[in-house]
């Protein structure tokens, strides 16, 4: 069976070129980059190229730091815990502002700091378009008291893009640090740290056709952090631990290729996404969350009335199609999709959401195949449904 992968917001296929670039660093140039001998030092040129590519791709200045780490979850944890540690050290109360629609690597970290460490956290709501607004931020931010504002660049469930430039500029003007989780933005839409004055930004290679388990944390010149991992001298002592050379090299090429393809995303990926979206909307009683002009060009969060999300995924999976749902019926935690809830949608919708996310490797035939299967699935499951 031909399989069709439409879950690229969860992770992506590794670009074969990236795999090829990583390959020599497993069995040939396997030295520890910190060693004095040639086995170690021969890894340096490739690492340095990777770093250049990462800096260039994000528009970072040479004075800024980008530390290579294990994943975006690590980057997010580093920032929140660093801000907390700094306020402890200064004996100051800690107030963090984030949004209700963040990824669990932000939300759960904030909830931990709030519940276990007494940090005050404000969770900004979204407007009816599903977007965090400057007005909401202005209401919550208290100059002199707020320590950090963190708002994701683009949302993983809906693809909705937040006005991070506006939010960052305002936050900076109030003398407060700004962080953005750009995991779902890098490679899909232009991301430039020249444009957006964020102090911190996190990203993860596996969302842009790099390998899993490697990511990065950008730290603007002047903003300092307390490391999460103490140990050796790697990454300017900001993140100890022997650098994962092949993965760093892979991420370097992956981000360069991804950024080169942002134009392609805006045209081709968007065209295929819109084709799929139009086909879904052509079915009766379906809806898509968020206006397409506010979304990353690859994402659709659809709701099919009368069909439970996991049942939908089951049928798709039986036909070899991968998609995802934010409302796993088996979850021990609250089941309704956080984004749906934050958008204050009709509660019925929160169990009917199915997310399709494309990548630059998605083909027209795949989209045509998916449309055909989606139509059949909707027909079959609505015939069974007691609520349709």
């Amino acid at each position: 069976m031909e399989r069709i992968y439409l879950d690229s917001n969860a992770t992506t296929v590794v670009d074969p070129l990236v795999k090829q670039a990583m390959d020599p660093f497993f069995c040939q140039m396997y030295g520890n980059p910190n060693s004095l001998h040639r086995f170690g030092t021969e890894t340096h040129p490739a690492m340095s190229i990777a770093l250049d590519r990462i800096y260039d791709s994000l528009g970072a200045a040479d004075e800024d730091d980008i530390i290579i780490n294990g994943c975006a979850t690590e980057g997010n944890n580093t920032i929140f815990k660093s801000v907390f540690m700094d306020s402890l050290a200064k004996g100051k109360p800690c107030h963090i502002i984030t949004s209700q629609i963040e990824h669990p690597s932000v939300l759960h970290t904030c909830q931990y700091l709030e519940k276990e460490q007494g940090v005050q956290v404000t969770y900004l709501p979204v407007n009816s378009d599903g977007i965090v607004t400057l007005d909401a931020l202005k209401e919550a931010l208290v100059p002199g008291k707020t320590s950090l504002v963190s708002v994701m660049w683009a949302n993983n469930e809906t693809g909705l893009i937040n006005p991070v430039k506006e939010l960052a500029e305002y936050t900076k003007s109030q003398g407060v640090l700004f962080h953005t989780d750009a995991v779902q933005a890098v490679g899909k839409i232009p991301v430039s740290l020249k444009e957006v004055p964020a102090d911190f930004l996190t990203f993860s290679a596996h969302k842009f056709h790099g390998p899993k388990g490697v990511g990065g944390l950008y730290i603007r010149q002047g903003a300092s952090i307390t490391p999460l991992l103490h140990g050796g001298e790697q990454m300017g002592k900001l993140r100890a631990g022997t650098v994962n050379v092949p993965y760093m090299v892979g991420m370097g090429l992956a981000i360069e290729l991804a950024v080169q393809h942002t134009e392609f995303y805006d045209t081709e990926v968007r065209r295929l996404r819109d084709k799929l979206e139009d086909a879904i909307l052509a079915l009766p009683d379906t809806m898509i969350i968020g206006d397409r002009k506010f979304r990353t060009p690859n994402t659709i969060l659809a709701s099919f009335k009368g069909i439970e999300g996991e049942a939908f995924l089951w049928d798709l999976n039986q036909k070899g199609i991968a998609a995802s749902t934010g409302s796993a019926c088996s979850s021990e935690e609250l089941e309704a999709d956080a984004t749906f809830q934050a958008m204050d949608m009709d509660n019925n919708l929160s169990h009917t959401g199915v997310r399709f996310s494309l990548s630059r490797f998605t083909t027209e035939e795949e989209i045509d195949g998916a449309i055909d299967t989606i139509q059949k699935t909707v027909h079959r499951l609505r015939a069974i449904s007691s609520t349709y």
Binding site: G306, I307, E308, E310, A311, W314, N317, Q318, S327, C329, S330, S331, E332, E333, L334, E335, A336, N347, N348, S350, H351, T352, A383, I384, S385, S386, T387, Y388
Partner: protein, 319 residues
Amino acid sequence: MAKNDLLGGSLWDNYSAKVADRMDNPVYQGEITEAEAEAMNAKLIVADWGAESCGDAVRLYWAVDKDNDKIVKASFKSFGCGTAIASSDMMVELCLGKTVDEAIQITNLDVEKALRDNPDTPAVPPQKMHCSVMAYDVIKQAAAIFKGVEKGILDDDEMVCECARVTLKTIQEVIRINDLTSVEQITDYTKAGAFCKSCIKPGGHEKKKFYLEDILKETRAQMEIEAAQKREVPFAERSTFQKMRMIENFFEAEIKPLLHKDGGDVEILDIKENGADTVVSISYKGACMGCSSALTGTLSFIEQGLKDKVDASISVSVE
């Protein structure tokens, strides 16, 4: 946490082949019309359970023979995940040919067992056990409609864990008999809380009337009161600490469970000894706060209870 918990399950791979097959090809999906039922000399029963907003909803159709109460035809419709659909399909199959009274005896565990490929391997992973509970509830609902009664009359004793079918009474007994002190022990002894975990504490998959955490706390407190009564040292001769414990235990065992039922709660702010008298200051929380009877009826109920069960020297003031 242990090796098996580290990677997270592959949920669907743990379904039995029967579950997968019934999801893909449900046998009894569909409706029964009045005319069809009439043609069979049967009464049509249509029962709904659950709601789309809760993530699970099922509708059960029965054609019940007017002469002998046998279910001669049955079918279902369902809004739910694969296991919910497969369980509904199996539930309908189990109803067929039974009288209504026989069908009421079918439980979610019967449905799950019938879906096993092999008698010793569960048909679904633990997190999915609750999906067959819906199938069981809708039978009760259909039977209630058939009999013209409220569904509550047909429900079992207070059910705490629906996945494993463990009642409040069983759990309280097991705690007492085995002197259990943790929720994990309750789960080991009864399987309550081993599946969807909603009944352990608030905030899970489903909102519950009882939670294992509360039952444990309340039963332990009750046990301590009983033990203290057995020891029979007069209240006045006890240490301040013991007095405090006895008063606290009384609140945990006797007062809080009652207030919780109405969404209220109470907190002990202070316990002062004033010569031979003991004064307990409390404040109400939750639904009790705005309730006018909290200051009169509830207060005198609490005070009388303390006087009767702990010691006559105790009085209560509300802050």
